[in-house]
């Protein structure tokens, strides 16, 4: 796919005053509404517009480029932070679709109306204070500009331009023939019913020319009459449809214009809310200056007024479609209008999500994850909801069981894991890992960097004995070798047995940590084969030297293997864990607690940068480098 940057477009071209949107309209989108933008572009594409209707996005919090589809290709639409930049970049854009919230829609719409190059503003937000809308209406009137909305989905010029999300999904747009121009224009108060109007008009006539939903507010930025007069002047529009509502008196301006002959084209009209009469009457206000009786504002009276001036008015909404058909058929029969033929729209590839949902496509996943799922109502670890983990007190050991082994561990295993974490949590500031963490922290590095600095020392010489002992003991045990063979074989290879030996502790002065763990395992573990093997080895090594005891790392290493066997893994699987280096996980997890403790300690002490003292370094530099022969 190639990406094209839309920076310069052709001029929008001159158009008559009565057209506010058409196939040449270029729009600025205020607000980073990615889906609405894509919907507008998709509409452009099925209308076979030459150029995209969206030329620039105003997003106060981000600038740059926004990538979207243009048919099957991808294009880049510039995104700027201010309207000023947008209008400077695209002076040919005379339409702004304003997605700003009700809080900021007034300011942004005002700025747009006061900008020379913008002629029309559609305000989508619902909940603008009436006074603010009135101020906008005044500005628009003075500057001869258009407002559609507030509180609307917008409107649509069939075959040309779609305001935001108007008319719904593409299949609905095509079903309603909106991808090409028809000859019927409508204006509706409700945006929610505009889809229905598109559908009705498409089924009964040669289709919609344009439709506008003026929005449900008391003071819409443009009213029925404004659009009806535009439609009257436009020779491509042959008849109009008006869908009004109970409340307000705006419909009477249209009735008056028809009466006075200012509107001559056929009109089909209906005001919804005729059911208001069956609702329990609510007490009237002490209506003052309201000389217009409430009666005038009912749907029934408005519908009758329309009928009285010769408008096509149905008996109920149920034959609204028939009235439209009647008006249209008469128009065609009179020879005043030749139906516009249908056009096959280009095919737009389905969006991946839509196609997937409909089961039309599949694709191999790039990732597989088998341990957790964050998509549903609640986070789950290996199928167990987080709330259950708390309710049933699974604890750290239980969670590790789920995420590392995908098993619901028995109590003994959970406790063992927790003991390992507690045991390995720290071993003072002098060991290499803690030391590194402290040095990094004192060099002003952040917690994570300092922690990583410590963790990086874990390996064959520091902390790696857990992994190493597991490796050494299982290797000989699983191969069926006697402990004595292991000792002599290792000796002959000149390799120290990992997990054997202690600096201070000895047979006579045993390490209490090891004693506790061994006792725990003997009492609770179903399998202690590796421990037993290691203890046999220890017997042999301690007979040679008193301090060649099974140390705490070694003990943890072998017990981890026995735990894995105890929770159901075969020897082969245990070896696989060992080969993958997974046993280091226990030590890393535990010791991270200690490292972070040391780091926090240093930070709180405000320790300065550490510099190793000169007198602790024996400088043995030669006078000159060795010469290479």
């Amino acid at each position: 796919m190639e990406a094209i940057t839309v920076t310069k477009t052709k001029k929008s071209g001159k158009r008559p005053d009565y057209i506010i949107m058409d196939k040449n309209t270029k729009a600025i989108i205020f607000g980073f509404q990615t889906r609405a933008i894509q919907r507008m572009l998709d509409f452009d594409y099925i209308c076979r517009r030459e150029e995209p209707s969206v030329v620039v996005i105003v997003n106060p919090t981000r600038d740059g480029m926004h990538k979207c589809f243009w048919g099957t290709k991808e294009i880049l639409i510039p995104m700027v932070r201010t309207l000023k930049e947008a209008t400077k970049m695209h002076p040919e854009a005379d339409f702004m679709v304003n997605f700003a919230s009700f809080r900021s829609a007034y300011q942004t719409s005002k700025e747009a109306l006061e900008t020379k190059t913008i002629r029309s503003v559609a305000i989508i937000a619902e909940g603008l204070p009436e006074q603010r809308t009135k101020e906008l209406i005044k500005i628009a009137k003075e500057k001869n500009k258009w407002i559609i909305g507030p509180a609307t989905v917008g409107g649509i010029a069939a075959g040309g331009f779609r305001i935001g999300n108007t008319a719904g999904q593409l299949d609905n747009i095509v079903a309603s023939k909106l991808h090409r121009q028809g000859s019927v224009a409508y204006v509706s108060k409700s945006g929610g019913l505009s889809n229905e109007l598109n559908n009705i008009i498409a089924m009964t006539t040669d289709g919609v020319y344009e439709g506008v939903a003026i929005g449900g507010d008391r003071y819409p930025g443009s009213t029925f009459i404004d659009h009806m007069m535009r439609y009257e002047k436009n020779p491509d529009i042959k008849m109009t449809v008006l869908l009004g509502e109970v409340g307000g008196t705006d419909e009477y301006e249209v009735i008056d214009a028809i009466k006075k002959g200012r509107i001559k084209k056929p009109v089909v009209a209906w005001c919804i809310g005729t059911c208001s009469k069956v609702f329990p009457a609510e007490v009237q206000f002490g209506h003052a200056g309201a000389r217009a009786g409430a009666e005038r504002e009912t749907a029934d009276v408005k519908n009758k007024a329309f009928k009285d001036v010769g408008v096509y008015v149905p008996k109920s909404f149920d034959d609204f479609d028939k009235q439209i058909e009647k008006a249209y058929t008469k128009l065609v029969k009179s020879g005043k209008h030749k139906p516009i033929p249908d056009v096959e729209p280009p095919i737009i590839p389905l969006d991946y999500e839509v196609a997937l949902k409909q089961g039309m496509i599949r694709k191999p996943a790039s990732f597989i994850s088998t341990i957790s799922d964050d998509r549903g109502e609640e986070l789950r670890y290996c199928g167990v909801t987080i709330s259950r983990i708390f309710e049933e007190k699974w604890g750290l050991g239980g969670v590790i069981g789920l995420l590392w082994f995908k098993k619901n561990l028995p109590a003994w295993a959970r406790e063992f894991i927790e003991r390992v974490v507690l045991l390995t949590a720290d071993h003072g500031p002098a060991v290499s890992g803690a030391h590194n963490s402290i040095i990094a922290s004192r060099a002003g590095k952040d917690l994570i960097s300092s922690l990583v600095s410590g963790l990086l020392t874990i390996g064959p010489r520091f902390g790696g004995a857990v992994q190493g002992s597991a490796n050494h003991f299982t290797k000989y045990l699983y191969a069926g070798e006697e402990p004595s063979f292991m000792v002599t074989d290792m000796k002959s290879k000149n390799v120290n047995i990992q997990g054997i030996g202690h600096r201070i502790k000895s047979v006579t002065n045993p390490d209490v940590r090891v004693t506790i763990m061994v006792d725990f395992a003997k009492k609770n573990f179903p399998v202690t084969e590796t421990l037993d093997y290691a203890l046999s080895v220890e017997e042999l090594t301690t007979s040679k030297r008193n301090n060649l005891i099974l140390n705490v790392d070694g003990c943890i290493g072998v017990l981890c293997c026995d735990m894995l066997r105890g929770i159901g893994y075969s020897r082969d699987e245990v070896r696989e864990f060992v080969d993958l280096g997974i046993l280091n996980a226990f030590f890393v997890l535990g010791r991270s607690i200690g490292f972070m403790g040391h780091i926090m300690d240093q930070k709180r002490l405000k320790s300065r940068l550490y510099r190793h003292p000169w007198d602790d370094i024996e400088y043995m530099m030669p006078d000159k480098p060795e010469k290479v022969k």
Binding site: E130, N198, A281
Partner: protein, 424 residues
């Protein structure tokens, strides 16, 4: 969100609070007023409001309805003891006002002000700005003396300070009050604009020494102005119109509506009606109800109902259950079928199949009752995934053995009304 009525009490309190900011420092409105609700301990009031014991009082209900004098709901020139007695007699009493019966729960007590002239001022919003109405003949139905009213239009971008209000007051304005009334009107307008009022009527106000006292005040506030003016509004409530007593089910739906981002509405018009609607979308629900009435089935119409704003499956389920429960409580006495219209227009981006999930769950729950009361279901809907949604409903009908007819956008939105009822 729209213009909403506020209590006379709140209007007067606000006016008194901002009087010197907007209206005048020379003449005053002391704002002596007390609101009494069912929880108020009447005997404790004089401790905080000493004037209750020292002045003659006026008492009247404050529940968004007018013409209280005509309905005998004003007690004037009363002592505190008399006022208390009057309130106790009227509190929590069913009362008929016009065509509506409701419970009296809120009263205001104010000083009784002996006065000579009664004056009228009102400000009403219109598309271009606001119209100020002024008359020197207040205290009566203003329509009956409309000739005496001056109309002063202030456009939305006009600076009221540059308008010569004095010259625009009615010719019969008493000379001694002219300046004061002009200042008052100007200030009242500023107050009205700054606090996002949409309607403010004082009929009448009177002059008492160096005070202007509004005797009767009616106001509506544009509640979308909340983010601009709520600091000034203070703790303001928008009471429900008088007499709207909600049934248990209506209250339940209202509660769900308020506690979620979705829109759920239910008004039971006639629980014995045979046609129940459950319609998606505001416009759609009005149109279905209209059509039932317009086609002459007004007596069969049971409810007005709407669900929109993408309610969750749980909410739709609860909502559907509420309606199904109401409609299946009793069989039609003549043994005729009942109808449930699950209607709607063509959705923009709502997944239709998904919205039907909650409804199908409820229909399963009510399988037996639906059969017992001979319910026939008609579905009409369009929009994303509507074919799947209609298929789910159709299959459900076969599974439950309940007649469910389904239609898509190729069928005119309201045709199911006549399909259901036309056969009768």
């Amino acid at each position: 969100m729209a213009q909403r009525g506020i209590r006379e009490y709140d209007g007067k309190k606000m006016l008194a609070k901002y009087w010197t900011d907007y209206i005048s420092k020379d003449f005053k409105f002391p704002g002596k007023i007390v609101l009494v609700d069912p929880k108020t301990k009447l005997d404790d009031l004089p401790k905080k409001h000493k004037w209750l014991k020292t002045e003659k009082l006026v008492v009247k209900p404050d529940q968004l309805f007018g013409k209280r004098g005509k309905h005998g709901l004003i007690k004037a020139n009363a002592s505190f003891t008399e006022a208390k007695k009057w309130i106790t007699e009227h509190m929590n009493k069913e009362t008929k006002v016009g065509k509506v019966t409701g419970m009296l729960t809120h009263f205001i007590i104010e000083p009784f002000v002996p006065h000579k002239g009664e004056f009228y001022v009102a400000i009403k919003s219109n598309r271009e700005g606001d119209m100020i109405y002024f008359s020197n003949h207040g205290g009566v139905d203003i329509e009956s003396v409309w000739k005496t009213v001056s109309e002063i239009q202030i456009d939305v971008d006009q600076d009221i300070n540059k308008v010569n209000i004095e010259s625009k007051l009615p010719k019969d304005t008493p000379k001694e009050h002219k300046k004061m009334f002009a200042e008052f009107t100007k200030g009242l307008y500023k107050f009205y604009r700054e606090l996002n009022y949409a309607y403010l009527e004082i009929n009448p106000f009177v002059v008492s020494g160096k005070e202007i006292i509004p005797l009767d005040l009616v106001a509506r506030i544009d509640d979308t102005g909340h983010f601009e003016s709520s600091d000034k509004w203070g703790d303001l409530t928008f009471p429900a119109p008088f007499g709207r007593k909600l049934s248990k089910e209506e209250k339940y739906v209202k509660m769900m509506d308020e506690k979620s981002g979705a829109l759920l509405k239910l008004t039971v018009l006639n629980p014995k009606g045979r046609v129940w609607t459950m319609v998606a979308g505001g416009g759609g629900s009005v149109i279905y109800t209209d059509t039932i009435v317009d086609l002459g089935y007004r007596d069969e119409l049971a409810n007005y109902g709407e669900y929109s704003g993408n309610p969750t499956t749980d909410l739709t389920y609860e909502y559907a259950k509420t309606i199904l429960d109401l409609m299946t409580r009793e069989k039609d006495p003549k043994g005729r079928p009942k109808f449930l219209l699950v209607g709607g227009g063509i959705a923009n981006f709502t997944d239709v199949a998904k919205t039907f999930t909650g409804i199908t769950m409820a229909l399963r729950d009510y399988k037996k009752k639906l059969k017992d009361t001979k319910v026939k279901i008609y579905v009409r809907r369009g929009g994303p995934n509507y074919k799947e949604g209609l298929k789910i409903m159709k299959d459900l009908g076969e599974e439950l053995g309940i007649p469910i007819d389904v239609y898509g956008p190729e069928t005119h939105m309201t045709r199911i009304v006549d399909m259901a009822l036309g056969g009768k």
